[in-house]
C-alpha cells in the first residue's frame, strides 16, 4: 500500500481534526495562551454562557501588552490600563490558570514566553488572541492568532471550527550574505509576493537557507507570516529545534524527551508532497531590508530607493503609495538611507530574543547614539533581560545611550504607555509599520536589530554593512 505524501502542515492538522462539517474542520487545540489585551471579552462570554475553562493545565497566561516598561514598573504604573490588567489577573488566577505576571522572573511577551517555557512543542496546535502567534510555528507547530470569541470557544472546548488552509511553500535556497538575517528574509518575501500573498494559506518555509537559520531567526520569519497574509507559518523541526527545547520547564524529560524527539523527526514534509501554491527566492539576492511606507510589503534594500509611482502594479496600489508617501513624508525615487530618525526601538516578539540583542550590541559596541535619537531596548522576556545583563549587553547599550527597559510589548503596538510621538520617525525591529501603530501620528520603518542599531548611532537610516 502506498500512502499519499503529506506536507508538514497536513501531518499536524490531520490528526487534530476531530470531525468535519460544511467545509470546515473541528481542530482540537493543545494549548491556549492568554494575555491582558484580548482576553477579558472572552471571559465575559464564558460567564454569560456559564461555561468553564475545559483544561486549565493546557492554558498559560502572561501580562505583556498594556503595561509600562520603565524600571520599577507595576500594574499601576500605567493607570489607563491598570483596571484591565487587574481584572485579567483576577480572571486567570481565579480559574487556576498559570500566570506569568509582572515581577515573575519568567514574565515576558506571550510568544517569547511560550517558547521559553517549552509550552509549545513540535506537532502541537496552539492559539492566542494575538495575530503573531504564528511565531512559534518555527518549532514545527501550528500556532495562530484568533479573536476574542474564538478565545472563549477555545477555552470552553479546546477546539475551533476552521476552514482548512491551503498549503503554500516558500523555498529560500542559497546562502545569506553577512548581516542579512531572518528579518530581512521575511521582509524580502513580503515585498516580493505582497502582503496578501499568503491569505487563506498555511505557509511552510523550506530550502537550504531556511535550514541554516537559527531557531530564533526562524521565529522572526514565522512571526512575520501574518504580515504576508498567512495566519500560520511553520518550519520543519530539526536538531536545532530539539536542542533549543531540551530542558525547558514544560518539555518532556529524560527518556520521554528521547521518545518525543523520535516522533518529532517525522514532522517533515514527505518528498513529492503537493502544495497548492509555491514561491521561491534566492537567499543571495537578499540585502538588509527596510520599509519606507505603511505596509510591511513596502520593503526595499537599504541601499535602494523608494519606488516611483509609475512602478505600482495597479491604480489601487498607486493610490495606496501616494497616501503612504504623504503620511511618512517621503518622496518617490529618493534613497531610503540617510532618512533621519527620532526613535530607535529594539523590541517585540519579532526581534527581541537574546540573539537579536547580541546582534544589535555587536553594532552598538563602543558607539554613541546620535544626540537627536531616543533609543530603547525592550527585551522580549524578563529571562532574556537577565541573560543579556549576565553577558554585559545592557552595559553596551546603556553606555552608548540606549534606555534599558523591562519586558513587554511596548512600542510594538502602543497599547501601553510607550508611544513614538506625533510626526516622529522610528527605526523599529517590530512587525507593523501601519499608520498610527506606534502611537498617533507615528512613522515606522521596519528593519532588523543590527539595522536599528546602525540607525540609532547614525541618526538616520543607514546600511549596517558599511558601518560594521
Amino acid at each position: 500500500m502506498t500512502t499519499t505524501p503529506r506536507t508538514l502542515f497536513e501531518k499536524i492538522w490531520g490528526p487534530h481534526t476531530a470531525t468535519s462539517r460544511s467545509g470546515r474542520d473541528l481542530l482540537t487545540l493543545d494549548r491556549v495562551f492568554l494575555h491582558d489585551m484580548t482576553s477579558l471579552p472572552a471571559f465575559e462570554q464564558l460567564r454569560q454562557r456559564n461555561l468553564p475553562v475545559a483544561d486549565t493545565a493546557r492554558t498559560l497566561a502572561v501580562i505583556d501588552h498594556t503595561v509600562a516598561t520603565a524600571s520599577g514598573r507595576t500594574e499601576e504604573t500605567y493607570p489607563v490600563m491598570a483596571p484591565t490588567v487587574r481584572s485579567f489577573r483576577r480572571e486567570v488566577t481565579d480559574r487556576g490558570i498559570q500566570l506569568f505576571g509582572l515581577g515573575d522572573p519568567a514574565q515576558g511577551i506571550v510568544h517569547v514566553v511560550a517558547a521559553e517555557q517549552g509550552a509549545i512543542l513540535p506537532g502541537m496546535t496552539a492559539v492566542c488572541g494575538d495575530s503573531h502567534t504564528c511565531t512559534n510555528g518555527a518549532l514545527g507547530a501550528i500556532a495562530f492568532g484568533i479573536g476574542s470569541t474564538e478565545i472563549a470557544h477555545a477555552l470552553a472546548y479546546q477546539a475551533l471550527w476552521l476552514p482548512r488552509p491551503k498549503a503554500l511553500r516558500v523555498t529560500v535556497d542559497g546562502s545569506l550574505n553577512p548581516l542579512v538575517s531572518g528579518k530581512d528574509v521575511a521582509l524580502a518575501i513580503i515585498s516580493r509576493f505582497s502582503t496578501d500573498g499568503g491569505v487563506g494559506c498555511a505557509v511552510e518555509y523550506a530550502g537550504s537557507a531556511i535550514r541554516r537559520l537559527t531557531v530564533e531567526e526562524r521565529m522572526t520569519l514565522c512571526n512575520l507570516s501574518i504580515e504576508f497574509g498567512s495566519r500560520i507559518g511553520l518550519v520543519a523541526p530539526d536538531d536545532a529545534v530539539f536542542s533549543y527545547l531540551e530542558g525547558r520547564p514544560r518539555t518532556p524529560k529524560g527518556a520521554a524527551f528521547e521518545t518525543a524527539v523520535a516522533a518529532w523527526r517525522n514532522l517533515a514534509s514527505d518528498e513529492n508532497a503537493a502544495y497548492d501554491k509555491e514561491y521561491s527566492l534566492d537567499a543571495g539576492s537578499i540585502a538588509p531590508m527596510v520599509t519606507w511606507g505603511t505596509s510591511p510589503e513596502d520593503a526595499i534594500a537599504v541601499d535602494g530607493s523608494i519606488p516611483q509611482l509609475n512602478q505600482a502594479r495597479n491604480p489601487a496600489q498607486r493610490a495606496r503609495w501616494e497616501r503612504a508617501l504623504s503620511y511618512v513624508d517621503l518622496k518617490p525615487g529618493a534613497p531610503i538611507a540617510g532618512t533621519p530618525i527620532d526613535v530607535a526601538f529594539i523590541g517585540s516578539c519579532t526581534n527581541a530574543r537574546l540573539s537579536d540583542l547580541r546582534a544589535a550590541a555587536r553594532v552598538v559596541r563602543g558607539g554613541k547614539v546620535a544626540s537627536t535619537v531616543r533609543a530603547l531596548v525592550v527585551p522580549g522576556s524578563s529571562s532574556v533581560k537577565r541573560q543579556a545583563e549576565a553577558e554585559g549587553l545592557d552595559r553596551i547599550f546603556r553606555e552608548a545611550g540606549f534606555e534599558w527597559h523591562e519586558s513587554a510589548c511596548s512600542l510594538c503596538a502602543s497599547l501601553g504607555p510607550d508611544i513614538v510621538g506625533r510626526g516622529k520617525r522610528c527605526a523599529s525591529t517590530s512587525n507593523r509599520n501601519f499608520e498610527n501603530r506606534q502611537g498617533p501620528g507615528s512613522i515606522t520603518h521596519l528593519m532588523s536589530p543590527p539595522m536599528v542599531a546602525a540607525a540609532a548611532l547614525n541618526g538616520g537610516i543607514a546600511d549596517v554593512r558599511t558601518l560594521a
Partner: protein, 206 residues
C-alpha cells in the same frame, strides 16, 4: 438562537483602500482613552485617526463624514480588508457604528472568522464585480442590497454580481447558528481526538 441575517439593504460607503488594517479600524490611543481597551463607544472611535484631526474635530473630507452615508450599513473596500491585529473590536466597532457588511476583493483570515462570530458579513467579490459595483455607484449613488441566501448583490432589481463567503460561516449568518451550542454536540469527537493524540504523544497532556 442568534438573529438571522439574510438580507442587508442600504447605502454603501466607498472606501476603496487596499489593506485597511484593524489598527486603522480601532486605533490603540482612543481605544485606551475611551474605554481602557474595553468595549464601550467603539463606533465613536472607528477609523478615528482618519475621521478626526489631532484636536478631535472631524475631518470633513473623509468619506464617513459625508452626511449621505450617515446610516449606511455597508462598507466597500479594496483588497485584503482587516489585515493586521487579531482584535475582534475591529468587527465590534464596525457594528457599533452601524455597519452590517463589508464588500471587499478579499479579507484577512482572522478578520473574516471574527466577522462570522458576530453576524457580520465579509462579502468577497471578484475584480470584475467590484469594478462594476463601484462604477455603478459612482454613476448613480443609491442603496444596494445584499442577498445572503442567493449570495447576490443588487442595485434595485438588477444583479451586479455574486459574492463568496465560507460555507459554514454563511450558514451561521443565515440560520443564526450558535456555534458554541453546535460544538457542544461534538464534545465526544473532540475528546476522542484528544485521547488519540495523548496516547500517541503523551506530552500533549500536561
Amino acid at each position: 438562537m442568534t438573529e438571522k441575517l439574510t438580507r442587508i439593504q442600504g447605502m454603501a460607503v466607498p472606501l476603496l483602500w487596499d489593506n485597511v488594517d484593524t489598527d486603522a479600524l480601532v486605533p490603540a490611543a482612543p481605544h485606551k482613552r475611551i474605554s481602557g481597551g474595553g468595549l464601550e463607544r467603539l463606533g465613536e472611535i472607528l477609523f478615528y485617526e482618519f475621521r478626526f484631526n489631532a484636536d478631535g474635530t472631524p475631518k470633513p473630507d473623509f468619506v464617513l463624514s459625508d452626511p449621505r452615508f450617515a446610516q449606511a450599513p455597508i462598507l466597500i473596500a479594496g483588497e485584503n480588508f482587516g489585515c493586521g491585529s487579531s482584535r475582534e473590536v475591529a468587527v465590534w466597532a464596525l457594528q457599533d457604528y452601524g455597519f452590517r457588511a463589508v464588500i471587499a476583493r478579499n479579507f484577512a483570515d482572522i478578520f473574516e472568522q471574527n466577522s462570522y462570530k458576530n453576524q457580520f458579513l465579509p462579502a468577497a467579490v471578484d475584480t470584475a464585480t467590484h469594478a462594476r459595483l463601484v462604477a455603478q455607484l459612482r454613476r448613480s449613488p443609491g442603496p444596494i442590497s445584499i442577498d445572503l441566501v442567493e449570495k447576490c448583490i443588487r442595485i434595485g432589481d438588477e444583479s451586479v454580481g455574486v459574492f463568496s463567503a465560507d460555507e459554514m460561516g454563511l450558514d451561521m449568518l443565515i440560520n443564526g447558528v450558535d456555534e458554541f451550542a453546535l460544538t457542544a454536540r461534538y464534545a465526544a469527537d473532540i475528546k476522542a481526538c484528544q485521547d488519540r493524540l495523548v496516547e500517541a504523544y503523551p506530552w500533549f497532556a500536561v
